[in-house]
Amino acid sequence: MSLPLRVCVVVFGSLVAAGQVQAGPVSGKLDLPKELPPREPAATKGFLDRVENPLANPRPVAVTPHMVVVLEQAEGAQKGSAPGQVLWELVGESFSRPVMIAAIGSEVVIKNVSKTARTLVALEDDKLVPSGPINPTGPKSFRVAEAKVYTIADKDAAHLRGTLVTVTSPYVATVDDAGRFELADVPEGSYKLRIFYKTGWLDGTTDVVVAAKGKTEVNPKVPALTAPQKK
């Protein structure tokens, strides 16, 4: 199992720990647009511009690591299990996933599995992440209280940035490299599936009806990623 999928399992396991009667999994695969967005300009640049290697075409831009999905109930207040724990690993010069999603009230645990101590801070709320460095193998946890998009960064390493998306719904999932996702133990009902990409929510939602029994399959179509995203 790849790292992102393991993260997905951890997230779902924590979110549905309380469980509900007559709930089933919701899975699917994002229908990515054929035309992927162009590669963004280099975050930093040396004396030269980057140039393609002469032996092979550049690899396509990986968009799925930057995507997360959420199921939101169509009407009324959100029902669901008690918030669980979200594990977000710091693997070296980057997070295990550039974008992570968590439900309000859940505990976000950032674990440093690299060999370098980091001092992280949420740019939007400097009190969100407890102060102090996260030593190698050490964790740093906190709870989110509102639906927001946070940028978690290390001021000493400009390239080290992650996006934490917090939502009211407890039914959230990450996406693997192929675009697959899975939400376990979703109570029956009508939902809307939304996709977050990089810095904002993509336009459009996908209606999802979860039956009392059985597995629900949904393959939401992802709009063109070149369009500006809204937060």
């Binding site: 511009d49 092979a56 690899r59």
Partner: protein
């Protein structure tokens, strides 16, 4: 002197202009020099930026060559397929990387290499942190770009050291599949800095904030102004810093420099990484600085118009001397010669027209004074004549006393119809008078009154020790040793007998002299038929003494001799000054 003054004015003006030019000329040169230095700084900064770009290109080529090594491709291909990186794999890949680096001898050998698998994991590190592996390097822009298939460079800072890093993707040629990426790092060292400025005649330093990382020369530069300059830059294209920034003055120890800062690109740009180009600030090029800057070659005859300068100096000096000679020396010499002739009596006046300018004025002034002296001499003579009456040339003459108040008396006979005796008097130089010795010097005029001519004073009684009526006592030696004054010579002419002079001197010392004169005067008045009523000897003597004193005070004579004679049928009395000699 007019043209000399004009010439000196022109010379002084030329000198002032020359000094002003000498003081002013260095200023534009100094400004131009400073501008040139700044421009040289900008050029050097730009050249260094270009050289660093060229160096980056070479390093990218080097990384590409490194990444294309088959053993590297194979090693990373295998590592990418592994679930985890163990130490054995790390050592095997590190050994491969070390061997490839060894092959780069002769090229620009990197200081470290990092081998990364397709997933972004560090499989091995060579020459730097060699025991660290397994961590994810993906996330750094350089690594992400290399894993995506791009060649590029960047600048990293690691443990206070600045590295020029390049990355290249590792591609399996046959399948065109990506096996990973490699990173090569070159430390920024003093040697690199020196190589960059080798032909630029400047210095360069690389900095991380206030810390100098490397430099072409060890300079204790105060980095705060450099950091402040970096902060002022703000945004803008980094590669335009050399052109956009302004040089700033900084100090390094006792030396002053002009510096131009330019940000370093890449990842380190967020850590205030920059380089600075230095030029030692030239000393102020004032007048003294310009003189100091003069070299031997500048004074060589071929490069400096010594002949022109020398000729100009000689011409100016010659003209000045010529004008001095024409307008000053020659007229002065001429005037001096004429003054000498004047002094010798060869001429009576200075010829005014023969001397130009001020010298003519001097001659005129001298002549005016000569004329004034002549007039004063004539005036003095006239005054004396008026005072003493007409007299022969050289005579002091006589004075008519009591002419109206006293009867004209002439002892021994009636009043003559002729002019009064003074017109007939003649002074005789005692020195030329035979039988008369020059009188000894007398500190004070003799208070002794003169002796009337008709009476031989020598035959009178000896004068009293104290003169009557307040007359001062004559010196005791006077009667015996004093020679006869000029008045005696006068008496000689009237009475005859120069040998009576000593007796006259003795008898005149007493009041009998005035009594005798009184008696002669009374006799003369009676003989003229004039009345003598009211005429007493006391009043007469008092009058004579007063007139004697007045005459002595006016003429400075030693003594006064009174003579009774007839004037216009009346008795008259004349006072004759008696000189010392």
């Amino acid at each position: 002197m007019f043209f000399s003054k004009i010439w000196f004015f022109l010379v002084a003006l030329a000198a002032a202009v020359a000094v002003a030019v000498a003081l002013l000329m260095p200023r534009p040169a100094a400004r131009a020099h400073v501008d040139n230095e700044k421009q040289r700084l900008v050029v050097a900064c730009t050249v260094i930026d270009i050289l660093l770009g060229d160096d980056a290109r070479n390093r990218v080529d080097l990384a590409s060559a490194f990444a294309s090594k088959l053993e590297i491709v194979t090693a990373l291909e295998a590592a990418s397929g592994a679930a985890s990186i163990d130490e054995a794999r790390m050592k095997q890949v590190r050994s491969t990387g070390t061997a490839v680096m060894e092959e780069m001898k002769g090229k620009r050998k990197p200081d470290f290499a990092v081998l990364i698998d397709r997933r972004g994991r560090v499989v091995a590190r060579v020459a730097l942190d060699e025991n660290d592996f397994g961590d994810v390097a993906a996330g750094r822009p350089l690594v992400d770009d290399a894993l995506a298939g791009y060649l590029r460079d960047d600048l990293w800072a690691h443990n206070g050291t600045l590295y020029l890093v390049t990355a290249a993707p590792v591609v399996k040629r046959d399948t065109q599949a990506y096996a990973g990426a490699i990173i090569l790092g070159h430390q920024v060292t003093n040697a690199l800095a020196q190589r960059l400025v080798k032909s630029l005649d400047v210095d360069v330093g690389f900095y991380l904030g206030k810390d100098e990382v490397a430099g072409s020369k060890t300079l204790a530069v105060e980095a705060t102004p450099l950091v402040d300059a970096i902060k002022r830059i703000g945004g803008g294209e980094i590669n335009q810093d050399c052109l956009a920034n302004k040089p700033i003055p900084i100090t390094a120890g006792k030396d002053s420099y002009t510096a131009l800062v330019a940000r370093l690109p890449g990842e380190v740009s967020t850590r205030q990484a920059y380089y600075s180009v230095f030029i030692k600030r030239p000393a102020a090029l004032g007048f003294a600085g310009t003189l100091d800057a003069v070299e031997q070659a500048d004074l060589a005859p071929g490069s400096f118009p010594w002949i022109l300068v020398g000729a100009g100096f000689v011409v100016m000096l010659g003209v000045g001397i010529a004008m001095m000679f024409v307008e000053s020396d020659r007229p002065l010499r001429r005037l001096t010669a004429e003054a000498v002739r004047l002094a010798k009596g060869e001429t009576e006046r200075l010829s005014e027209d023969a001397h130009p300018g001020k010298f003519g004025s001097i001659a005129r002034s001298v002549n005016i004074h000569i004329d004034k002296l002549g007039r004063e001499a004539k005036s003095a003579k006239k005054d004396m004549d008026q005072l003493l009456g007409p007299s022969p040339e050289g005579s002091l003459g006589t004075i008519d006393l009591l002419a109206t108040a006293l009867p004209a008396v002439r002892p021994g006979g009636s009043a003559p119809a002729s002019s009064p005796p003074p017109s007939e008097f003649k002074f005789t130089n005692p020195a030329t008078q035979p039988g008369l010795a020059a009188p000894p010097p007398r500190p004070t005029p003799s208070p002794r009154p003169g002796t009337p001519p008709p009476v031989a004073p020598a035959r009178q009684a000896a004068p009293p020790r104290t003169p009557p009526l307040g007359l001062p006592t004559p010196p005791p030696s006077f009667a015996s040793a004093a020679p006869a004054p000029s008045a005696l010579n006068l008496d000689d002419d009237i009475l005859g007998g120069a040998g009576d002079a000593p007796e006259l001197a003795e008898e005149a010392a007493g009041g009998d002299y005035f009594a005798q004169v009184f008696e002669q005067f009374v006799t003369m008045k009676k003989s003229c038929g004039e009345s003598t009523s009211g005429l007493t000897i006391e009043k007469f003597t008092e009058k004579l003494i007063r007139n004697r004193d007045d005459l002595m005070a006016k003429t400075g004579c030693r003594d006064v001799k009174f003579t009774v004679y007839v004037k216009d049928g009346k008795a008259a009395l004349k006072a004759t000054p008696v000189k010392d000699d």
